[in-house]
Structures are given as C-alpha cells and as structure tokens.
Subunit: 133 residues, 2 copies
C-alpha cells in the first residue's frame, strides 16, 4: 500500500494547486488551519516529504533559510525571482537552451547533472513602483 487519502493530504494538494508560487511548510500549515483543519505542523512536514518522494511535488531552497514546495510542472524548467524587498517569489519561464548551456561546463568535467536551477534576486516591479513614491 502506498499513500492514503487523508484530509491533510487533500487540503495540502488543493492548497498547492491554488498557488502560483512556491510555498513554505509554515505557510501551508497556516493555510490549512485557516481553512478550519486542525492539523499539526509535523504532519505538514511529513506529508510534504511524502509528496516529494512520490514525485508529485518538488522542494526548493531559495536561500531564505526555509524550504518551499511546489507541484511538479510538466511545462519545462523555470527560474525563480525573489524580491529582496517584499520577499515575494515569482516563477519565470526560461528558455531551455539557457539551462542546457549552463550545464555544459559541468558535463565537460564528467559530472552527471540531474537538476539545475536559476535563481534571481532583486526588486520586483511593485516594490520599485512603491519606492518611486
């Protein structure tokens, strides 16, 4: 037997489907609690681990000191932009050839590349607009 259809899992998947940006365990836990589900934080962590192990979700670390999760996209690789002002994370589509070329040097050294991510930091348009008072 594998994963069971529990309330936590259902809500977690629903929550992941409803966001277009990677979310943290804490954010997910908060969302489930707000939705009236009395779920423990530990359970959220374990369910997320399970989803990742099953290949339904992927885990990412954007250098904030926490992990974020997102459902697997079939629509190819993408980059992440993190706004250093508001902390918002945006997913950006990236030309496959960009990442492929980035891997070239690693492969030339005999490294087998299994995953590849491009991470951008800066100020998002909303914050830039706000600062221009």
């Amino acid at each position: 037997m594998t994963s069971r259809n529990t309330p936590t899992r259902r809500h977690l998947l629903a929550e992941l489907e409803n966001t277009d940006r990677p979310v943290s365990a804490a954010e997910l836990h908060q969302a489930l609690v707000s939705a009236g589900l009395d779920v423990n934080k530990t359970t959220v962590y374990r369910q997320l681990d399970a989803l990742v192990a099953e290949g339904l979700a992927s885990e990412l670390d954007l250098g904030e000191g926490i992990r974020r999760y997102e459902l697997h996209h079939d629509n190819g690789e993408h980059a992440h932009f993190i706004c250093t002002e508001c902390g918002d994370v945006y997913c950006l589509p990236v030309d496959e050839t960009v990442l492929a070329r980035g891997c070239k040097e690693a492969e030339a050294r005999g490294f087998a590349v299994t995953s590849c991510s491009l991470e951008l930091r800066g100020v998002c348009s909303s914050c830039a607009a706000r600062e221009a008072h």
Copy 2:
C-alpha cells in the same frame, strides 16, 4: 571607523583565500580552532556578516540547510555544482550570456535583477567512478 584588523578577521580572510570552494561558518570555525586560534563560533558568524556587508565576501545557500561563504571573484559570474553523493561543492565558470539571457524574462516584467545564480546538482566524476567499482 569601520572594520578593525583583528586576529579573527585575518585568519578568516586567509582561510577563505586558501579554498577554492565555498565554506560554511562551522568549517571556518573548525579551521581557525585547528590553526590554534581560540575563537568563538558567534564571532565567526559576525565576522562573516561583516565581510559580506563590506562586499568582500558573498553568502550562498546551496540548499543544505547551512550557509556558505566565498570571497568575491572579479572573474565574473559562476555556477555551483553540488554532488548529491559526497556533498562536495564545485565552482564552475559560466558564459556570461547564459546568465544574461536568464535575466531577460525577469527584466521584461519590470524586475530589477541584482544577483543571479545557477545551481546544478548531480553526481561528481569521483563518485561516478567509485560507483562503477
């Protein structure tokens, strides 16, 4: 007044200069202690923060749950390859145009990109060789 020339700072800079891969605060602390310097871990963290603030070093998070530091290289941007077997981190030179193209999409959305990093994961050549017994 700004940064003072303290023993911790001197040794820390020397240690950072002597490695070709990003090092963690714990590794640096261990190195200083091994070198006979009785330095507190907190001090190492604070000195590293200072070096980053001064622009001498840069901080990076490779998704290991810890932060790594490296001296600023003038020789352009580079990518990091993390071996999922042995945990070793390698710096790889990257064609500037690769990163520039990766930023294009972000800039098209009105985001001001200030930093950009490419992170690769996979198996390094040593581990691959070892596994082929």
